[in-house]
């Protein structure tokens, strides 16, 4: 993936919309029917279930509730949900809660989890108040794919790639170890205009000169200076809001694998309730809106170039775009946890973690299987030798 462009001019202060789920607080949050705190997600229904009385319920759908979701072409300025607000450097990821059941102090490390069980009275304590460390988002998209389904998809993916897989990887392959992780993303709506400038060529004549081995093809072409303008809106563009996950360099990591299983059905996200995360792990957001502007502009410019491509199809010899610009009239940012089933394998000799990732909603699967270099090189060389022998035979016969 190419390097994102430098950030544009600083914008006016964004409007922050309060998205805090007012029905919930930090600490003990009880089942509305029986009062138990043993609550978790039931993936098959997408509902929260009380493990004590089996009552099922769901938080309100976020779409249309967090913002006034009007016509995107009228979007102006920057609006962000309070869960996407800037992270304060002095706010610790570790939160200490006082258990309302027994008064004990319970520690929750929000970098990896949003709940903890009181070691004295066994109540489950959850973090629901938005704190300025990026841990509580505006919304969450619950897992819809079960652990068994994820294991099946990972097994199928890996079984198609056995022949040239690293022998140690095959030996240690344990798909049951797949972990459900809520990954942090920013979901962005935008109202945008873009202009691109360049040159295109249309072939006017094609002819050959010379004879036999000196025969060459020549082209005549008309050169045009081009300009294209496009106004467009994007709905739910999904951007990694963890700096580590956004760093996609395939020579040192396999983060592109997690990126590839996008998109998610973000329209079905619900308002925050930490109980959706019980039994899963989570990664905390560490990027603010301002820091993500370059990534956003890179995606918007790419979309603009994609949109104008059909309008230059008559330039059969291609187009060289030389300059581009994007005017962002309005954006709306929501921070969201998205569900990913993640199988990790650490390849010691390369010092690299290989992921096989499954979209926790759609089941889309992608992975990086470490290769057995020796086998791969041997087979490639063998094919090369066969091709070379055939080439020599053709040369000798002709």
């Amino acid at each position: 993936m190419s390097t994102p462009p430098p950030p544009s001019q600083p914008q006016d202060q964004p409007e922050v919309v309060n998205t805090q789920n007012a029905d919930l607080g930090d600490g003990v949050n009880r089942c509305p029917r029986c009062g138990s705190t043993d609550i978790q997600l039931r993936a098959s229904t997408g509902m929260l279930i009380c493990l004590f009385c089996r009552h099922e319920w769901s938080e309100q759908q976020a779409e249309g509730q967090l913002f006034d979701d009007g016509n995107l072409t009228e979007l102006r300025g920057t609006t962000i949900g309070s869960g996407a607000a800037d992270i304060a450097a002095d706010v610790n990821a570790v939160v200490t809660l006082k258990c309302q059941g027994c008064g004990a102090e319970v520690v929750v490390n929000t970098a990896a989890a949003m709940s903890s069980r009181c070691h004295w009275c066994r109540h489950v304590l959850t973090i629901n108040n938005q704190i300025a460390n990026g841990a509580v988002p505006d919304a969450v998209l619950p897992f819809a794919l079960s652990h068994e389904e994820a294991v099946a998809r990972i097994t199928e993916f890996a079984s198609k790639r056995k022949t040239f897989a690293n022998r140690q990887f095959l030996k240690e392959f344990t798909p049951q170890n797949v972990v459900g992780v809520y990954m942090p993303y920013m979901i962005v709506d935008g109202n945008v205009s873009s202009d691109v400038y360049g040159h295109g060529e249309v072939e006017t004549r094609r002819y050959t000169r010379g004879t036999d081995e000196n025969r060459r093809t020549y082209y005549d072409a008309d050169v045009y200076q081009l300009h294209r303008h496009v106004d467009f809106t994007v709905d739910d563009l999904t951007i990694e809001s963890s700096a580590e996950r956004a760093m996609m360099d395939t020579s040192v990591n396999t983060n592109n694998i997690i990126n590839t299983i996008l998109p998610f059905d973000t329209k079905n996200a619900v308002r925050w309730n930490a109980n959706y995360l019980n039994g899963f792990s989570s990664e905390k957001r560490d990027q603010d809106v301002e820091q993500l502007q370059p990534a956003l502009e890179h995606q918007l410019l790419s979309i603009a170039r994609s949109q104008v491509a059909p309008s230059v199809s008559r330039y059969g010899r291609g187009v060289r775009w030389e300059a581009e610009k994007v005017d962002v009239h309005g954006t709306r940012w929501v921070s969201m946890y998205l569900p990913v089933w993640l199988y990790s394998y650490f390849q010691k000799e390369k010092n690299m973690v290989h992921y096989i990732a499954v979209n926790g909603r759609t089941g889309e699967t992608m992975g990086s299987i470490p290769v057995a270099q020796g086998r791969l090189l041997a087979v490639s060389a063998a094919v090369g030798v066969v091709a070379e022998v055939l080439a020599i035979i053709i040369l000798v016969v002709s």
Partner: protein
């Protein structure tokens, strides 16, 4: 850079030379290295998927107004052997170019 990427990069000029279609005996002798590099590259990508990423250009809900703009003929080229415009990036949407003011 991974070994696969390195080999692909090394192979690109060879592929270009072999694919020139000049029909010379030396050209056909490149068939072996070309085949070896192609097989390695294809298998490496199939296992490692280093070329994959989210296709946000096509997998995002986008509503675009009709495209506007203009074109003006500025030059004529006669007798070039290049099959396409130099620096053709019409399909490479993610290659960033100079930012216009």
């Amino acid at each position: 850079m991974g070994i696969g990427a390195e080999l692909l990069a090394t192979g690109a000029p060879i592929l270009a030379a072999g694919g020139s279609g000049d029909g010379s005996p030396a050209g056909i002798l490149l068939a072996g290295p070309i085949a070896a590099i192609a097989v390695y590259g294809l298998l490496f990508r199939y296992y490692r998927n280093t070329d994959k990423s989210h296709s946000f250009e096509t997998e995002t809900r986008i509503q675009a107004a009709p495209i506007t703009g203009g074109e003006q003929k500025v030059n004529e080229i006669r007798g070039t052997q290049q099959t396409q415009i130099q620096g053709n990036n019409v399909s490479n949407h993610r290659q960033r170019v100079q930012r216009a003011p």
